[in-house]
């Protein structure tokens, strides 16, 4: 069983994505033997009204709920986010959130964001945060969106010990508190592996040593990314098979109550 906690549906404003419909993404997953994927709207990253993207995803995954697990993109500075959160959770069955503080131009430490995190946590929703959407060096001439600094993530996880966070598309965790052993932070976050090195510096191996395999999850970033680099990381990872199984699926299934 493989569960991908980092997948997307829909269009991205600055590059054509393939495999971005439910049917085509499922075909890609079949070819890579990925059983389930957490999906959110790629379009909602740049839509002003992110809820339109959530509605598109809800429509797209209908009939595929056994394999595609929808997450909502919510901008806590946009009018009506409380209504959107309720609809996404109660009507669309979305089990979690994806937050884009830099793309949506707000601070993780802001009051609105904290209200959103608290509201999602009360609903038992998981909150995932892509540290980046794409490599900033290839950005459009229209905008310059920085990665989410890991220092801001540290403050967030400290401020919300009861919340559960999955950190996507990041690296450099071992260079800060998030990836250090005995770091005194709450154990309320897991780290997805798509950008982590599995050879040479082997940050993936270091994180397993420092935090435990329970805190690492498999993810690909498809269809932005090829799924294969993440699969290759698991294949070459020097870890026990039980640990690999946790990373491959068990951790995500536990967190998502699958």
């Amino acid at each position: 069983m493989i569960v991908d906690v980092n997948a997307y549906l829909g269009h991205f404003a600055f590059r054509r994505l393939r495999y971005n419909t439910a049917v085509s993404l499922l075909a890609l997953m079949d070819s890579k033997r990925i059983d389930k994927a957490v999906v959110s709207s790629a379009s909602a990253i740049t839509y002003r009204n992110a809820q339109a993207g959530n509605e598109e995803v809800a429509e797209e995954v209908r009939g595929h709920s056994d394999r595609l697990i929808p997450f909502a993109v919510i901008n806590p500075f946009y009018a009506g986010w409380q209504d959107d959160l309720k609809i996404c959770h109660e009507e669309f069955g979305m089990a979690g959130l994806r937050l884009y503080p830099k793309w949506h131009n707000y601070q993780l430490s802001s009051t609105c964001c904290r209200e959103l995190v608290n509201a999602a946590t009360e609903r038992g929703m998981v909150i995932s945060i892509p540290i980046r959407v794409e490599d900033n060096r290839q950005r459009s001439w229209l905008l310059n969106v920085p990665d989410v600094p890991l220092e801001e993530i540290i403050e967030l996880v400290k401020a919300h010990p009861k919340a559960r966070f999955i950190l996507l598309n990041g690296i450099g965790y071992t260079g800060c508190l998030l990836g250090r052993k005995d770091n005194v932070l709450p154990s309320n976050y897991a780290i997805e592996l798509s950008r982590l090195s599995a050879v040479l510096a082997n940050e993936l191996g270091q994180l397993i040593t420092n935090l435990g395999a329970e805190r690492v999850m498999f993810g690909t970033g498809m269809p932005f990314n090829y799924p294969d680099p993440a699969l290759v990381k698991l294949e070459v990872l020097d870890a026990s098979e039980p640990d690999k199984e946790k990373i491959r699926s068990q951790n995500a299934m536990t967190w998502l109550r699958l």
């Binding site: 890609l28 490599d135 290839q138 950005r139 294969d228 070459v236």
Partner: protein, 320 residues
């Protein structure tokens, strides 16, 4: 069962798990067929199943058919106290990932490189070729601004030390006249130039003389006999721009290396410039490099060309 344990991307319940998996050339190719079948594209020929993996470093020939060649790699600069272990890790990673040969250079930590600096790097590269025989192939790194000293160094490395090509970094944009004698010498010797490149839609302040695909295409028009490799199309710049800029420059190959794993990159490169002009590379992003080729929706024959065939064709044009 063999395929499942050693070549598949997932484990198989009930079967024993190898303690140390070594990916293979077949691994690069296998999933491409699966993807094509799954999405209903044209069926692949069964050639992938017949490709056998050579034992790394076992052949006396440095250019044996069927090898996987990383066209863009680096050994560690010896100012790092861990350089020896780092070099070993590179080879171990190549072993794990089924990469047979790595075309390596060493760059000075500070640039522009001095003549002493690039000569020292090349001595260490040469030493790396001796320490890892058959695994490490050398690029001679020079700063073209040193004129005669740079040319002498290229002749020494290619002629006496068995290096396979030249590495140019960002000391000069490749269209500046100071670079031309290096290109002319590469043509004389019949060796490729790997040109550091990227294209961003903003000025890269720390690399003011960065070359991009447009510059390399301009250089290729000036020197149609030159064999140029545009480095790391997945190295962070706008890879779609770079691929399009290189469309009409027939004597430029595109190196797939870099940390970016955007889906579709390799397929677009193959479609726009032709699969004969795409070469596999990692530039230290090892699983990204391997995964991109494995994930690309191309035929097994096309992947063969990218993994080694195209690079071998280039290296066989050496004149001495």
């Amino acid at each position: 069962m063999k395929d499942c344990i050693f070549f598949s991307s997932v484990s198989c319940p009930g079967l024993p798990v190898a303690p140390q998996r070594r990916l293979s050339r077949r691994m690069f190719l296998k999933d491409s067929a699966a993807t094509v079948v799954a999405i209903g594209a044209a069926a692949l020929p069964p050639a992938c199943a017949a490709i056998e993996k050579p034992v790394a470093g076992a052949s006396s020939s440095p250019l044996r058919k069927g090898r996987v060649i990383d066209c863009h790699a680096h050994l560690s600069h010896r100012s790092r106290t861990t350089w020896e272990a780092d070099d070993r890790k590179l080879i171990e990673a190549a072993d794990k990932l089924g990469i047979d040969q790595l075309c390596c250079s060493i760059l000075t930590p500070q640039r522009p490189a001095t003549a002493d600096g690039f000569r020292e790097c090349n001595r260490w590269t040469s030493d790396g070729m001796r320490r890892f025989p058959g695994r490490v192939l050398g690029y001679c790194y020079v700063n073209p601004g040193y004129g005669r000293e740079a040319l002498d160094e290229v002749r020494r490395c290619i002629g006496d030390r068995g290096f396979i090509g030249i590495k140019l970094y960002n000391e000069y944009t490749c269209t500046e006249p100071v670079v031309f004698p290096i290109v002319e010498l590469a043509i004389e010797l019949g060796v490729p130039i790997l040109q550091h490149a990227s294209h961003s839609h903003y000025f890269v302040e720390d690399q003011p003389r960065m070359s991009d695909g447009g510059h390399i295409a301009e250089l290729a028009r000036r020197y149609p006999e030159a064999m140029l490799i545009c480095a790391h199309i997945s190295g962070g710049g706008d890879w779609e721009w770079t691929i399009k800029a290189l469309h009409h420059a027939q004597n430029i190959l595109l190196d797939t290396s870099g940390s970016v794993t955007d889906e579709g990159t390799v397929e677009m490169a193959a479609a726009v410039v032709g699969v004969d002009r795409v070469v596999f590379g990692c530039d230290s992003s090892m699983t990204a490099g391997v995964g991109k080729i494995r994930g690309a929706n191309l035929s097994a024959q096309d992947k063969e060309k990218i993994l080694s065939g195209n690079m071998m064709r280039l290296l066989r044009r050496r004149k001495s």
